[in-house]
Symmetry: C2
Subunit: 138 residues, 2 copies
């Protein structure tokens, strides 16, 4: 818990109790979390607090936002050493149609995409849907 505190401080975030709890919660999960997931996990806290905590985390490069196409935004902790506050890390995201979890495949970078003349790429989002390893090994 002490190391969470210093992690947040290193990122320029004041380590309140709530923020450390949310960080801890997300660190223990291996899948991306939506606002309602966190809201459900911390019934004592207000939705707005969780919401603004995520926004703060995002600004400071602690988490990155994921649009997996389900209609609800997900968040996941950034890899240690990533500079998500400067430029997005273009890795692949996988959404399991069975367990409905979304996970980061940080080792799988989005391949370079050839575009028609005149098109300039600035960002990319690649989401693969299917069956995850946990669900395929029944």
């Amino acid at each position: 818990m002490k190391e969470i505190e210093s992690t947040l401080q290193n990122k320029g975030i004041r380590p309140t109790a709530m923020r450390m709890l949310i960080y801890k919660f997300m660190a223990e999960k291996n899948s991306a979390q939506g606002l309602s997931d966190l809201e459900l996990a911390f019934t004592k806290a207000d939705r707005t607090t969780v919401y603004r905590t995520l926004k703060t985390f995002e600004e400071k490069g602690v988490v990155h936002q994921i649009d997996d196409g389900t209609g609800v935004l997900k968040y996941a902790l950034c890899e240690p050493g990533c500079r998500c506050d400067i430029e997005r890390d273009l890795h692949l995201h996988f959404h399991c149609n069975a367990c409905d979890k979304t996970i980061c495949l940080t080792e799988h970078k989005i391949p370079h995409i050839n575009l028609p003349d005149g098109f300039i790429a600035e960002d990319a989002n690649l989401v693969v849907k299917g069956i995850c390893d946990s669900c395929s090994t029944y």
Copy 2:
């Protein structure tokens, strides 16, 4: 207009006046349209009618849905001969950060993605954001 009528009939859709107008409108646009775009273009028609028309078109493989990450779902006509009603055509979508338009790059298929062991791909969505050709040639 007669050929729109037969196009719809060939897809198993009864060609009402409203449906033909919506089809025509989308055929004239070169970018994907959101529900509110159509709602704005056809102020005489109800939002629900447009909504259900899009759903019908989608089921019958006339249009395909696009999640470009803006938070609003877009729709675009399918290519002639595509079987979107059976299996999605996995082409690239481009969203311009300048003009805010989203277009289909139907010639640019999503490359095959290597996944870790146990992961099974069923679908994929690739959206590239940046500056489109119209906006980059000022």
